[in-house]
Symmetry: C2
Subunit: 135 residues, 2 copies
């Protein structure tokens, strides 16, 4: 996998992946950022939530129990000193639709235990806990 | 830090951070993706490259040796089996401008050793190597 991150100006950067997709980034306001995109660490957390969300959709589709709606809320605790790293990560899967609880639990476990590469990598840095809710 | 990743349709998702910035994501084509954004794992790699790129700009600014241009090219080796994780990460800092080599090296080392939280986390999953080039 490859990516290129190019400096634009101030603390603004643009990432370009191999397919040509571009993603803006900016620093936090206290580090000179001006809100022109998520921070790099935000992108990492978004990648984690997206990775497992995709797994859950794909697995529930295979189980013939797709949800009507799904979102994954991710939250972290972090160190106060450099390097600022996640010390705990929590994922909350919020599902809408007629998805049996046992299938949802199995899908989440399969993602966290077997399929989600981002979870597998970040779990080496911080514990990942999860819960789910229907709404 | 918080983020929410919401399923749109097919394998397309949108991440929304606390400041309201949105980032699209899509799966790889072989997993049903249609190119509507980077993959989650791409975002993680982009976050890594962006994190250290921001550090290097900020440190070179403090050293009164800002570059004219900077990009960070990131590449990985990955496992073939699930969970697909990075097994090696390489960063190439490409600099344009009158930046003394010793200052550039020091800035990169300070980022990798002290400041870049994403590097500190991902290094627990895979070794990170780096080089630099002027152009």
């Amino acid at each position: 996998m490859k990516t290129t991150v190019t400096w634009n100006q101030k603390m603004q950067f643009t990432a370009t992946d191999e397919a040509g997709n571009t993603t803006p980034m900016d620093a936090q306001p206290e580090h000179g950022g001006e809100g022109h995109g998520p921070t790099p660490k935000q992108l990492v957390l978004e990648g984690l939530a997206g990775c497992t969300a995709m797994d859950v959709i794909a697995i529930l589709n295979k189980m013939r129990s797709p949800p009507v709606a799904l979102r994954v809320e991710a939250s972290t605790e972090m160190t106060e000193t450099h390097p600022k790293v996640f010390t705990a990560i929590h994922l909350r899967y919020v599902v809408k639709g007629d998805v049996p609880v046992d299938k949802l639990e199995k899908a989440i476990k399969m993602s966290q235990d077997t399929y989600c590469g981002v979870s597998a990598m970040l779990r080496k840095a911080a514990p990942i806990t999860w819960e789910y809710a229907f709404e």
